[in-house]
């Protein structure tokens, strides 16, 4: 049993998915999230256990809609998808094959599925007979913070003439060729994770990683109808950001070394108070953006508030305040009751001035 297993307790480890890795990469400074994810801890249950259930969830209507759209695109051997691929990628796909790797002969073991994914993709890459080939639910593996994780697949890998594309099906609408910027950005970040993982697999198999295209095919409903449309999404920027962030992720070993011995997040044996204390021993880096993506966010926000941390005001506000860590420090520097360190001299002078004219104007 590894140290990470001890941390998690007897519960089954949770899989990473592109969403969690994208979220991790958005906040690479957060040791807490990195460790909980690496140990496969169920953050949702942990958050409930310590009394801070996640502030988000998914509506059953959204889930149903996403599923039905997914099914529509994949119906009849991905007929819709092939038509869209012909149109957007301008491909002359005469025939296409489809392989679903969500299980291997009824076995959905990760190791088996991953081995199968590798074998199929390698064969497609080396044979390259020109025909379009679709691989649904490929199980990819990724090294995150020095720790190998499986990626729960929600995409299709598409191979044509030796080139591979990631196809991502999303149920947000593209209206008059415009979609919600936030949702497109999130989709691009997630797709980048798959491209990254697929390239890693290619590299491990001795194939050229560049054969995996940085252009992702995004399939969404068009306008107000259920009819799918496809767009090519260039994720080079997201890919570069992801690679940079992944390389910056603290090594899990380093975090583990700093932990007190005998600590565990086991929900079965530990009281809420004990789990809270255990979680609090790992440093978090709270930002309000976490509220939309991390199950532990309310716990971390409460912690930030208790500490009077400027993190709770948002990254922009914190930066404006010269990166000073706590609210009392900001106000202390502003009213002169606290002496600035050498690197705080400039911001302290600004704050004193801000305080003077703000007080003047409010009075």
């Amino acid at each position: 049993m590894t140290r990470l297993d001890t941390l998690r307790g007897p519960a089954e480890p949770l899989d990473h998915n592109a969403r969690t890795i994208a979220a991790l990469a958005v906040n690479p400074g957060c040791d807490r999230r990195a460790l909980l994810d690496a140990a496969g801890v169920d953050k949702q249950k942990t958050a409930v256990h310590v009394g801070f259930p996640a502030p988000f969830g998914q509506s059953p209507f959204a889930i149903t809609r996403a599923k039905s759209f997914d099914a529509l695109v994949k119906a009849n051997g991905c007929a819709h998808l092939l038509r869209l691929l012909r149109d957007t990628l301008d491909l002359s796909i005469s025939e296409a094959s489809y392989a679903d790797i969500s299980d291997v002969g009824g076995n959905d073991d990760h190791h088996v599925r991953h081995t199968r994914t590798r074998a199929l993709l390698k064969r497609a890459a080396t044979d390259g007979d020109g025909a379009g080939t679709l691989f649904d639910h490929p199980l990819l593996k990724l090294t995150v913070a020095g720790h190998e994780v499986y990626l729960e697949p929600a995409v299709i890998a598409f191979q044509i003439e030796g080139r591979f594309h990631i196809v991502e099906i999303k149920s947000f609408a593209v209206i008059d060729d415009q979609a919600d910027a936030g949702q497109v950005a999130a989709a691009a970040r997630q797709s980048a994770v798959y491209v990254h993982a697929l390239r890693a697999l290619f590299a491990a198999e001795g194939l050229d990683p560049e054969r995996v295209s940085h252009n992702v095919v995004l399939v969404c409903p068009k306008d107000f109808a259920n009819h799918p449309t496809a767009t090519l999404l260039d994720v080079r920027q997201q890919l570069a950001a992801l690679e940079r962030q992944l390389s910056r992720l603290p090594r899990i070993d380093r975090i583990l070394d700093e932990l007190p011995l005998g600590i565990t997040f086991d929900l079965e044996t530990q009281s809420p108070d004990e789990v809270s204390k255990a979680v609090a021993t790992v440093d978090a880096r709270f930002a309000p953006e976490c509220l939309a993506s991390c199950e532990m966010s309310l716990f971390c926000r409460a912690e930030a508030r208790d500490n009077g941390s400027t993190d709770m005001l948002g990254r922009a506000a914190r930066d404006e305040l010269g990166g000073i860590e706590s609210v009392p420090a900001v106000l202390g520097l502003a009213d002169g009751s606290r002496l600035p360190s050498t690197e705080q001299l400039e911001i302290a002078e600004q704050l004193r001035y801000v305080r003077r004219i703000y007080t003047e104007a409010v009075a």
């Binding site: 509506s59 209507f61 809609r65 109808a225 005001l313 922009a316 506000a317 404006e320 703000y358």
Partner: protein, 486 residues
């Protein structure tokens, strides 16, 4: 976001109560604004679920779609919404005033004002407009005649909302954030309930406590347009099912009422808070722009104007962009000159300064560049304690007279010398009162309330080939009118 507003946020944390970032109200508020709180079905592009709407705080009208997936019921909802909104909007068209200008023209004396809870509400109003404005009252999928008209108005209002300083369609959380800094992040300020909890916490609670309580979805349901996922799963699913089996929307009505009424109360609380602030000097002038645009749209629709196409042509897009920029520039400047607290942001940034006049050379005359005869160009010296980050040659506007053009001649230590270029009368010496005098406290800023000039652009039919050539004018098509809405 500036160091000033961030400092105000830090103060809010310390005091447990939101802090002012404005001393006057920068948005127009109608005597009886139309509050509109729409809800949509999760996962769908633009499926209305219900709405609470009305101008009387005591008497909101609840509209609903008992089965949000049913297209006919959606259009019935839109027709019902039109019953409320169209008489309100069109009611303003009748009363006009004559505007004194080079060519005098008629302008509506007042215009409609819609208040929605947040930016999501504005975006959803735009989508509702987009999904209904092309519809026809005949043909394969006929709709009630009021539906496409409402679609055109919603499109118009959502478009106005993009212009800085417009008050035709206002997001309440944005309006409140313009005047108060809370002790939470700007992202969390998008939640009306928590934002108001910081601004006006109920008795016995401080801001953070009230905000925490306001995060409970049971007592403070989301202000829309998305509903809470737990509400969807635990209440709405069953209510829709009950409608499917019994044909009675009673259960959905109750469910939606429970989600909408708390927000309704908050919206009017927001209105009261904003009304408590005195109106800023230029709000009236900006509202006149809204009335101008409303008058033009009324006339356009009366002439049978086509709905706006799906995409803009190159020239109209460039014009729009230039106008948006100019509106933003003018708005920022006007807000700063209207409100010393807003001006402090620019003073902190070094783009403006305030101080006392220590010397005036009113008799100075020079030959301005490009002229042949000497003209008065007085110098005014101001002593300021502000960290000025401007250099000689920069053009400034004075808070005494926003039309007067001045420029910096010299900055030495805490002394700034500026040259006054116009607004001094026609005489050989400056007219009395056209210059500040020694001892005056003045404020100068590199901000132009005029908004700058729109660049010269070709007419639509002269669009160059680089921009796709002259665009086909939009003609309504059958395809647009019959577009699926599933």
């Amino acid at each position: 976001m500036s160091i000033m507003s961030s400092y105000a946020r830090a103060l809010a944390v310390q005091t447990g109560c939101a802090q002012p970032v404005a001393t006057v109200r920068h948005v127009h508020l109608s005597a009886a604004p139309m509050v509109f709180i729409p809800l949509k079905l999760a996962g769908e592009a633009a499926a209305p679920l219900g709405a609470l709407v009305g101008t009387d705080p005591a008497n909101p009208r609840l509209l609903l779609v008992p089965q949000p997936r049913n297209r006919d019921l959606r259009f019935a909802f839109m027709a019902e919404l039109a019953e409320v909104l169209l008489p309100y909007i069109e009611g303003f068209a009748g009363v006009t005033e004559t505007v004194e200008a080079k060519t005098p023209y008629e302008r509506c004396a007042d215009a409609p004002q819609l208040l929605v809870p947040n930016r999501g509400g504005v975006a959803f109003a735009k989508l509702l407009g987009r999904s209904t404005r092309f519809r026809r009252t005949d043909g394969p999928y006929p709709v009630h005649p009021s539906v496409p008209v409402l679609g055109q108005w919603l499109t118009f209002l959502a478009e106005r909302a993009e212009y800085a300083g417009s008050s035709s369609l206002v997001s309440m959380t944005d309006a409140l954030a313009l005047h108060w800094a809370t002790g939470q992040s700007s992202m969390e300020d998008a939640s009306l309930a928590t934002q108001l909890a910081w601004i006006a916490p109920p008795d016995g609670k401080n801001g953070p406590e009230a905000a925490l309580a306001a995060e409970d979805p049971l007592t403070s349901p989301p202000a829309g347009p998305e509903t809470h996922p737990d509400f969807d799963g635990q209440v709405l699913v069953h209510a829709i099912q009950a409608y499917e089996t019994s044909g009675s929307p009673a259960q959905i009505r109750e469910a939606l009422r429970s989600q909408l009424e708390p927000t309704w109360t908050l919206m009017w609380q927001g209105v009261r808070l904003l009304r408590g602030l005195p109106e800023a000097a230029t709000v009236e002038a900006r509202w006149a722009r809204d009335r101008d645009q409303f008058t033009r749209e009324t006339a356009r629709l009366a002439d049978g104007g086509f709905p706006r196409g799906r995409v803009d042509g190159a020239v109209s897009a460039a014009i729009r962009l230039a106008d948006l920029e100019s509106a933003l520039q003018a708005y920022e400047a006007q807000r700063a000159f209207d409100d010393p607290l807003v001006m402090t942001e620019h003073r902190v940034a070094g783009k403006a300064f305030s101080g006392e006049v220590v010397a005036v050379d009113a008799t100075r005359r020079i030959v301005p560049a490009g002229k042949t005869r000497p003209a008065p160009r007085p110098l005014v010296t101001i002593r300021t304690g502000d960290p000025v980050r401007l250099s000689p040659g920069r053009r400034l506007v004075s808070s005494r007279n926003r039309k007067q053009k001045t420029e910096i001649v010299d900055i030495t230590g805490d002394l700034v010398v500026i040259q006054v270029n116009d607004q001094m009368g026609r005489g050989a010496t400056p007219a009395p009162g056209s210059l500040p005098v020694v001892g005056d406290v003045v404020c100068y800023a590199e901000l132009d309330p005029g908004g700058g000039q729109r660049p010269r652009l070709p007419a639509g039919e002269d669009t160059p080939w680089t921009h796709g050539g002259p665009p086909e004018p939009y003609m309504p098509t059958d395809e647009d009118a019959q577009e699926a809405w599933s």
